[in-house]
């Protein structure tokens, strides 16, 4: 299944920011010349990105730049019109959202998408759907495997919730949680599906500064704990500059800059397209 990549034959267009802690230097994600058209409109064009195995990367850009579309391409909500996506060296061409998730991509959503009528714990357990593997019959008849896996699922759910100190809310209805807690629960649910790449779509939207600062710590903590790569879309520049090791700037569906936070802040194209207003202010 896994196709090994020949580094020489493939032109890797972007500079992967792979920190020294990565013992294995192969990137977790490589997007090459990715593009999608909606009718005649090109939403994303020639998008190239390489993410190291434990890298935290930021995807920024003005509204409508195509950031969420990139996430939708990576998770196969849309099938790309052009280009390839390699996840840990495996070409995801033609795969469905479900298959891509099984392969290791989990995500959160810009407009929160929780299972509102279910409890927090059930939400997390649903995230574990493919790692607890008793059959429906075993579930209906409550056979030993049901008890065994439900116990594991419960313990693991509590463990994951404890990252955000949410164990106490385990029995609350997900839809009744405060906004910030809902965002955090989405992250927990995504983590529950055991990903190797986590995509966060505006995780700090609607959070107050202290919550955002806490989230920043949490994102780093998650990376160090699970050894996964994280890509985040965010408008909060403090968060992006504070937590991301590599940043990719999109404008009108095209990458206009790539680099570490210092390089991005100094990049004239970025300042013009995006940060310029902030500098004047």
């Amino acid at each position: 299944m896994k196709k090994p990549l020949d580094a020489k034959s493939v032109w890797a267009p972007s500079n992967a920011f792979i920190p020294e802690r990565d013992l294995d230097k192969t990137p977790i994600l490589e997007a090459r010349h990715l593009g999608i058209d909606f009718g005649g409109l090109t939403a994303v064009d020639d998008f190239n990105l390489t993410i190291g195995k434990t890298e935290i990367a930021g995807l920024i850009g003005p509204n409508g730049a195509g950031k969420t579309t990139v996430f939708n391409l990576l998770t196969k909500v849309y099938q790309p019109t052009r280009g390839t996506i390699l996840l840990d060296g495996v070409d995801t061409h033609g795969m469905s959202t479900v298959q891509v998730n099984k392969l290791g991509i989990a995500r959160t959503f810009q407009n929160i998408r929780l299972f509102n009528s279910l409890t927090v714990e059930e939400n997390v357990k649903i995230g574990m759907h493919n790692s607890i593997t008793y059959s429906s019959i075993e579930g209906i008849l409550r056979m030993p495997r049901y008890w065994k896996y439900e116990k594991i699922a419960h313990e693991r759910a509590m463990e994951l919730l404890s990252i955000f100190n949410m164990e106490g809310m385990a029995n609350a209805q997900a839809g009744s949680l405060p906004y910030g807690a809902q965002r955090r629960l989405e992250i927990v649910r995504a983590l529950a599906s055991n990903p190797s790449l986590l995509l966060l779509d505006e995780p700090a939207a609607g959070m107050n500064p202290s919550e955002t600062a806490e989230l920043m710590e949490n994102i780093r903590h998650i990376r160090d704990l699970f050894h996964i790569a994280i890509i985040l879309i965010e408008h909060d520049m403090n968060l992006v500059m504070g937590v991301c090791e590599g940043i990719c700037v999109l404008n009108f569906g095209k990458v206009i800059a790539k680099g570490n936070p210092e390089q991005i802040q100094a990049n004239p194209a970025v300042i013009e397209a995006y940060l310029g207003k902030k500098k004047e202010a």
Partner: protein, 361 residues
Amino acid sequence: MSKLKSIKKTTLVDFATYIGVIIAFIIVNTLKNDGALTRSFTGQLIPICCYVVMAISLNLTVGVLGELSLGHAGFMSVGAFSGIIAAMSLQTVIPSPVLRLIIAIIVGAFFAAIAGVIIGIPVLRLRGDYLAIVTLAFGEIIKEVINCLIVGVDSNGLHVIFNAFGSKSVSDLNLLEGGVMIIKGAQGATGVKAISTFTVGFILIMITLVIVLNLIRSRSGRAIMALRDNRIAAESVGINITKYKLMAFVISSALAGAAGALYGLNFSSLMSSKFNFNTSILILVYVVLGGLGNIWGSIISAVILTILPEALRGFEDYRMLIYAIVLILVMLATNSPQIKNLVEKIIPRRKKGEEADEEAA
């Protein structure tokens, strides 16, 4: 501590449902044996069991899966007629009526499940109103198809004619001497030996409860509820939408088939027009009145709304009018926030969110 509470809460509700059904059965059965019940009420007992199972099974599709199905009576019909065929053709082989009934119920569930798969695969691609309309059409198609069936059994086995153009008649079956007619086209099944019993009905309710409640509390049930709450999010955590939709739909239709077999074998004759659109809507009313996704609610509303028309017999011509008015009033009452508040004052119940906040603090 909190986790213990949560496990207790859901299991308590489930447990109370089981206990409630068992107690109700014991009371009614004792009264029946003492002869304390009127004949009309005793006659209602098995249909009540059938409608309870129908309501629970439809709740699986409408409440748990979140897809509106308007053709549920169609699956009941498949179960009823396949159950009748099974029971009547085994009449000589298996003398025990209870055993025959059980086999008929299993056969009914099996064929209804097959119908569920056949209908579910194309239909479940649709969503919302479109799905509702298509299930309605399928319910009617099943009814018409059964209208065209002519079935008989003799020592050579089953004889089936599909009378699509109305040109064939019973004599075309060429039954041997001693053969029995089972289904005579539009006339339906006649000469059926009524072998359904209240006890079997009760056991069927219990089995249905175990299947549905345990399913909801398991991995598959959570997946089904996940795609009801948010399809896109469910896909993003690796839940196969088609598989779980179909699973809920097929389990639901199999249970409806089992209920249908029990229903069919309660009467000496049965016509396929019994399982028309009105019946589907009636069952939907039970589910909506009892609360979507609320299993014990479905049971209670199915029981009450089956007894009510009989209880209103004294009103003669105005019976259905009063029934309709009662229905409207109950719907209004159960949806009114004032009455909900009143109920909560009488039965104090802490909201889940508040509880969590307290524990977190």
